[in-house]
Amino acid sequence: MVYLHESPRNRGSALLLVAIVGIAVLGVLAIKTEAQQAIPPYGGTLVVGIPSEPPTLVLTGTPTWTYYQVVTPICNSLVEFDPKTLDWVPGLAESWQIIKTNDSKMIVVFNLVRNVTWHDGTPFTSQDVKFSYENIGPLFNSFIAGMRRYLEGIDTPDNYTVVFRFNTTWGLILYPGYFGGAGTCISPRHLYEGTDIANNPYNTRPIGTGPFKFKEWVKGQYIVLERNDKYWKKGLPYLDRIIYKIVPSSEAMMLAFQRGEVDFVWNYGISFAHAVQLEKMVLDGKLPGKRVWFFPSPGGSLDVVGFNLHEHGPAPLKDVRVRKAIAMAINRSAIAELVYFGKVEPLETMVSRAPATAMFYPDKRQPGYNPAEANRILDEAGYKRGTDGFRFRLRLVIDSTSYPWYVQEAQLIRDFLRDIGIDVQIVTLDTAAWHQKVFREWDFDMSIFPFVHGPGPAYFIQYYTSRGIVRASWSNAMGYNNPAAEKLLLEAEKELNKTRQIELVRQALNIIVDDQPAVWTVSRTFVAMLNTAFSDELQPGVWENGFGTNYMRPEKVFLKTLATPTQTPPPTTIQPTQTPTQTMQATATAVQSPTQLATVTTPQRTERAAETGAPLWLYTVTAMVVIVIIAVIAIYMLRSRRR
């Protein structure tokens, strides 16, 4: 901003001067800004809020979302995925061929980018790829471990060519999780060969090929990544630094975001209710410079109320009419409204219209909400109401630790089913107990599964075929199996032509929807929150963490406001924190402002006492209540003493 001083002598002409100079300056600035934004400015620090730290940062690792958020800027995988079409785009491989051989086998050839170096200067070669896929990946990543079943061998004819030889035409490689996406980054062979891979020190201070280098990890507090000046994509990245701040509670995350201590939050670490509140604040204009947006789950995740269809499962659920009646009784729109604030899509069929699964949208639908009809069907099927008004009883088992809002969904479902005469008992378990009971012991009647249905046929195979009936986490705990659907899905797995593959899957889904082995209630929506000082490259990628791809393109993110520095507000007085939930260490207000130019060495966000957060009226009311209570007790004590 430009300040002009008014000349005390001649107000009139001074005003004219002001006007002319002001217009001129604005004009210059406008031109200057435009010119500057043609080339994004370099510099800036992005603070990402995460709720917990990943156990390890090995690059070819277990694809969990905490891990993926931190590791993405550090490394590259062979290919990446186009957010709209899910087609392969070049990563460390600049070109590739997928060849189907005469004897129904498959060869995938990758031609690697040249002149790529690791963060420690060593050149990147095909040997790194071979080592990662043969030795490191299988230890940590179940997708890559599973790939070995179909992999005959990996050859490296020269330093920049890798050949994967498969014993069959495995169509799943077209989707994230194998050659691109979370957990598929290439690790440096020269640092891992000959060492104990599981305990290699580079698992916690990784060396990769990505736009940012690992700098520091203070356990329980933050992880710092620094710009890689020698990144093989010339001119990138723009940011100086990315800091991952660990904020353990949703309230703290909300406050941190409001105060600008955290710039970016991607779905995890903030509860839905808080995100909705923040969205309202942004829409009301109370949070300038921030953006909150909801988008369909990139992996097509959804809530699946699965039935136990094993031999020992409850008898009524074996009758498809009962299952249809239950589907008719559950008001999925009400669940979407009440549990998810209307931000999710009530499901008409077994997949949502999210980009990850829209291609598989089958023709068949679940029955609509019709409790009267459901009652009639159950009566006809012979399940009459007993003297207590109930036909039979079911236990609904949920994981209330990782998914606390499932308690509400379960309570709604219980009410819906009570309306048609089914008594539902809700059993809440913590995550480990839920996995044990549901996936390993198969000890449940119904359960709410936070399944993912995409991308690709892999998850349909995992959850709806006999191959998935194993006593392991994230398997076909329902015990559902339809031979016709299974045949189609396994054929799709082998199909390399994407169009044909999609059609096969759709046919299979039609069969499954008719069988109704579960009630697919709502799709899930993710939320992202962003400080709009940063560029739109921070937009969520289409695909979910866990097996997805570029959830943000960290190399392309830049700090917009570096073009036009703004004035920093004066630092406010800092008082000691009152609420124990504010585990966030507040930052100096000067650091919060966007004017962190590349030349100024930005200090580490130092720990200081948080500014008081609780509003004044809360203190007054609490004080008054406490005083009243003390007065009452004092009066009684005094009265007894007076005797």
């Binding site: 009410d415 809700i426 009684y636």
Partner: protein
């Protein structure tokens, strides 16, 4: 204030039971404690009569409705009536509090009695165990046990019960040590009365007046513990609970204050009431504590 002489006059004329006037005269704390506790208990008992929705039923009205004639305390995020669930939650709190305290009392009195009567090595060992159990933060242990066993209402009762006995044990032991010195116990032993009979027929009834008030105070602690567990999410979703309501209310404090205010108010009243009641019992039973 009512003139004391008038009360005396009335008592002779009308039929106010003598113990009522005696309590009112001797300990204002006990009197007010009894009134508060009995009001709460009556509320809990008649809850089904004075509410018009089934507890835990969702969507009885628009979610997040502020207090209105149909929903005197408003509704929560799933459209459940808070008035109904608060009163039923009071019931749950009282039930869980009473039963868990009962469990704790049985364990505590047993251990305290044996430790106090026996003395010697057995007594020492028991007291060391009690001390160790005392040091362990009972709430966290109850949380752990309830999580492991699964958060059903029975398990929560058991969890709170088996972690809150040390205080009662100490109290009982102290009392038994004191009573043991009395002459009539020596005489009983000399006569040849069996240990067990002495402990439970002779000593325990004398210890009760001092131990019971402490038990009542422990009960108010246990009610708080149950609410605390519910607040942290460890509650039976099939049973209305004040702690569970407060847990839900957390997210909506600034937008829907009524979800937290009324359950919180009732919880406070219950706990304060039991505290006053317990203190009143102590005051009433021990003349030397009064002036």
């Amino acid at each position: 204030m009512i003139d004391r002489r008038a009360i005396n006059g009335v008592a002779r004329v009308a039929v106010i039971p003598r113990y009522v006037t005696r309590i009112y005269k001797e300990s204002a704390k006990l009197f007010s404690g009894i009134i508060i506790v009995s009001t709460i208990v009556i509320l809990g008992v008649v809850a089904p009569l004075i509410t018009w929705y089934p507890p835990l039923k969702t969507m009885v009205s628009q979610p997040f409705s502020p207090p209105n004639p149909r929903n005197p305390f408003g509704t929560d995020d799933l459209g459940r009536d808070i008035y109904t669930n608060t009163l039923y939650g009071v019931r749950t709190s009282l039930l869980v509090g009473a039963l868990s305290t009962f469990i704790a009392s049985i364990i505590g009195i047993l251990i305290g009695a044996i430790a106090g009567y026996r003395g010697g090595l057995v007594g020492d060992i028991l007291m060391r165990i009690t001390d160790m159990a005392f040091i362990v933060p009972s709430f966290l242990l109850a949380l752990l046990i309830a999580t492991i066993l699964g958060p059903s209402i029975q398990n929560i009762m058991i969890a709170i019960g088996i972690t809150s006995w040390p205080g009662i044990a100490r109290m009982t032991r102290a009392e038994f040590l004191r009573i043991k010195e009395q002459v009539f116990i020596e005489v009983a032993r000399a006569i040849g009365v069996s240990d067990k009979r002495i402990m439970f027929r002779h000593m325990l009834p004398n210890a009760i007046p001092t131990v019971i008030p402490y038990t009542v105070l422990q009960m108010s602690n246990n009610i708080l513990a149950e609410a605390g567990l519910g607040f942290l999410g460890v509650s039976d979703p099939n049973v209305p609970s004040l702690g569970q309501l407060l847990n839900i209310a957390q997210q909506y404090l600034t937008t829907s204050w009524w979800i937290a205010a009324f359950p919180g108010l009732f919880l406070s009243i219950i706990i304060i009431g039991f505290n006053i009641f317990g203190d009143g019992l102590i005051e009433y039973a021990s003349p030397r504590l009064r002036r």
